[in-house]
């Protein structure tokens, strides 16, 4: 598995391992796994990773099985990742949401905009 570490800005004083992003290719899908917290401090890293994936792959799965918390900034990054995928005619699914993250997605009606799966598509 290819691993990339995105960490919070050192100047913020936040825990540096707030959001871990790892990527892997599985059965034709490019899986981006985000674990930790997706918030104002880390959201840009997530969006950058998703935009990069959308530019290079035709099937992208965002695995949120390790994501404990998502804020509005985090939601925006997930959505803008989907927008980048749509622009590039790539397939984009969000999968394996943890209960707190799924609750936020449902409150925001993200299921009306994104394909949300219970498990990985591959």
């Amino acid at each position: 598995m290819e691993t990339t570490w995105y960490k919070g800005n050192d100047k913020t004083g936040y825990d540096k391992t707030m959001l871990d992003i790892t990527t892997a290719e599985q059965s034709g899908w490019f899986v981006v796994k985000a674990a930790g917290r997706a918030d104002a401090v880390t959201a840009q890293s997530l969006e950058d990773a998703l935009q990069a994936a959308a530019g290079e792959h035709q099937k992208i799965a965002l695995d949120l099985s390790g994501l404990a918390y998502i804020s509005s900034a985090g939601l925006r990054s997930v959505l803008q990742g989907a927008r980048a995928a749509q622009t590039n005619n790539a397939e984009y699914v969000v999968c394996s949401c943890t209960p707190p993250v799924l609750k936020v997605f449902e409150m925001s009606g993200m299921q009306n905009v994104l394909r949300i799966l219970k498990g990985l598509p591959c």
Binding site: A40, V41, S72, Q80, K103, S108, G109, N112, V113
Partner: protein, 216 residues
Amino acid sequence: MLTVLEEIVLLTVDEKTGKLRSPKNYATANALAGALFFDLALAKKIDTDTENIQLIDSTPVGNSVTDYFLKQISEQKDLTTVRDWIEEGFQHSQYLEEEALRSMVDRGILKHQIEKKLWVIDVDRLRVIDHHEYQEVKLRLAQTILSDVIPGTRDIMLVSLASACGLLGYVLNEHEIEARKDRIQTIMNLETISRQVVEAIADREQQIYTAINSSF
């Protein structure tokens, strides 16, 4: 680039009459408060969850309105929810509107004119000078609603607030709005701040309804 607050205020300017149009004053006031907090979020100064606001960085951005509220958020520890701050912003909506207008006049987007009515009464008018900015905001609003493309962050903010305060009718006709009502609702629901703005407006309408009924 205009701030979200400026975009909403610009949409309220009637190009023909030069007057500020506001279908419901209290709704626009709530939307202006929401726009302010969207601007703070875009500047990465605040973040929100489904209820609360978190201050991320209190360093001033150089905009008098946002910096004033940034200072307020850092000092008023008793206000923690998005709804609290929408109410706080509501109380300052006239200031928000005036500062946004002043900024757009300073940048040559609008021109403030005082005209005489019946030869004696001074009437304030705002003329749109930079039609490009004005048209661009209206075009983005229309395209975001009429297309099925996943909207950009700023477009979500613009549509959700313009819809909340009843400004869509100045850009789209009623058939277009009716045909796209599900899309509009979906966009409005995506952001905590706009959901809270809609709730604040609904609560205010309920208060008005109750007050009217109790007076009879």
